[in-house]
Symmetry: D2
Subunit: 135 residues, 4 copies
């Protein structure tokens, strides 16, 4: 299954080369993740303030296939996959709304669930397990 | 007249104090400006690459009345006003969707139209004059 | 008195118009503030996590006089002024190292000291009073 | 050979989880790359505006081993390696100045040299070949 997030490239996303700054592609992907969590009923303010569990990103990668310009309308397809009781991965595919055949960029983030105090692994909270099963 | 832009606070917008980083409020306002231009049919890629005319921001200000948290759903009301043949101002009012009575922040940007080579004042292009008349 | 912070314009600071994105000028000014606090011996991690007191920005403004490009080497002069027991202002002047006569931009931030739980005004901690007296 | 860039974590780099936002680690690495180019005498304004050749990032990845907090003083070791006439890679290792034994994060960026109009591969300009040989 998957989730699609619509996003327009903002002026701030771009750099002096006239296209989106490479690291901002990953930020857009994280927005898609947040939107998906929010729609699943997860309170983002609480979730990201690391009260009882934290789910930091431990690895990320991205491939850039074509330039993206200010005003471009994009769809980001998000495909999460649980890897273990304490680890999941999300793959993101970015396509232009005007030509959804061509993938403009592809990215991934790998997340682990930890106790934010001891920083040792801990199982995902129920809400995340449900989100992983549903998206 | 005015235009309303809907925006959710992203994780990246926040800082270690747990609320939106002050300068990112201005970036959100600029997004509202871009969205409004885009809806008016202005090509953002061309517009912001300063081919024949540039419309840089020469002054900005913002007042912050209440904290904004990750996941908060906001409306940004944008009210542009032409000041002269070469100058306009935009006022932005940010309210929470959950309680639109309370203004969370207020901002403004002042823009002047210049020739990007000589950096001297030049009248707004027709598309901007039309946008100013319509929004 | 004042404090000077040296900063090079990064590629990420710029936008598709080829110059620094307006809101990033304010972020650079905040960096100068952080550097000044750090040199005064204030622990930034604790300070900005709002444990007992928070000092949010309630107002900001900026004037932009000349474009700044990727690689430009700048000096930001920071001049703080205490306004009351619970309020201070900082004025920032940005000049190019190559021609320090010309001010490229000028900005200000106004800060108030609050209890982060009740969000009511509270006097500045001693370390801030000392910083205000020294810078 | 390698190059070391010193960087303090800014408040803006952090997010509501209290640590550096993951994509900002890559931005810090890009700053190290820019600094290294600048020291080699390359004009960053011209270089990044893609006049005759562009050297976009086509792939990036990062591993995050430990949290980084506002005010943390870091060293980023940059190790470039030429892969072909039109491709190089940079590996970045981030360590804390207080404990340089422990690697906090590791990242890489892969760059290809293209003609920005035709977007076909073209050999690196001499200045980049020299930079690759020297760093």
């Amino acid at each position: 299954m998957s989730f699609t997030y619509n996003r327009t490239i903002h002026f701030q996303d771009t750099d002096a080369a006239g296209v989106i700054y490479f690291a901002n592609v990953l930020s857009m992907c994280h927005e898609a993740y947040e939107e998906s969590l929010g729609i699943a009923g997860i309170n983002l303010k609480t979730f990201f303030s690391n009260s009882s569990t934290a789910i930091p990103i431990v690895h990320t990668s991205a491939d850039f296939f074509a330039p993206m310009f200010c005003g471009d309308k994009l769809s980001i397809n998000l495909i999460p996959q649980q890897l273990s009781e304490t680890k999941f991965e999300i793959v993101y595919e970015i396509v232009a709304d005007s030509s959804s055949q061509q993938i403009l960029a592809k990215a991934m983030t790998r997340h682990v669930c930890i106790n934010p105090i001891t920083r040792t692994r801990t199982p995902f909270p129920d809400a995340i397990v449900q989100w992983l099963g549903r998206v």
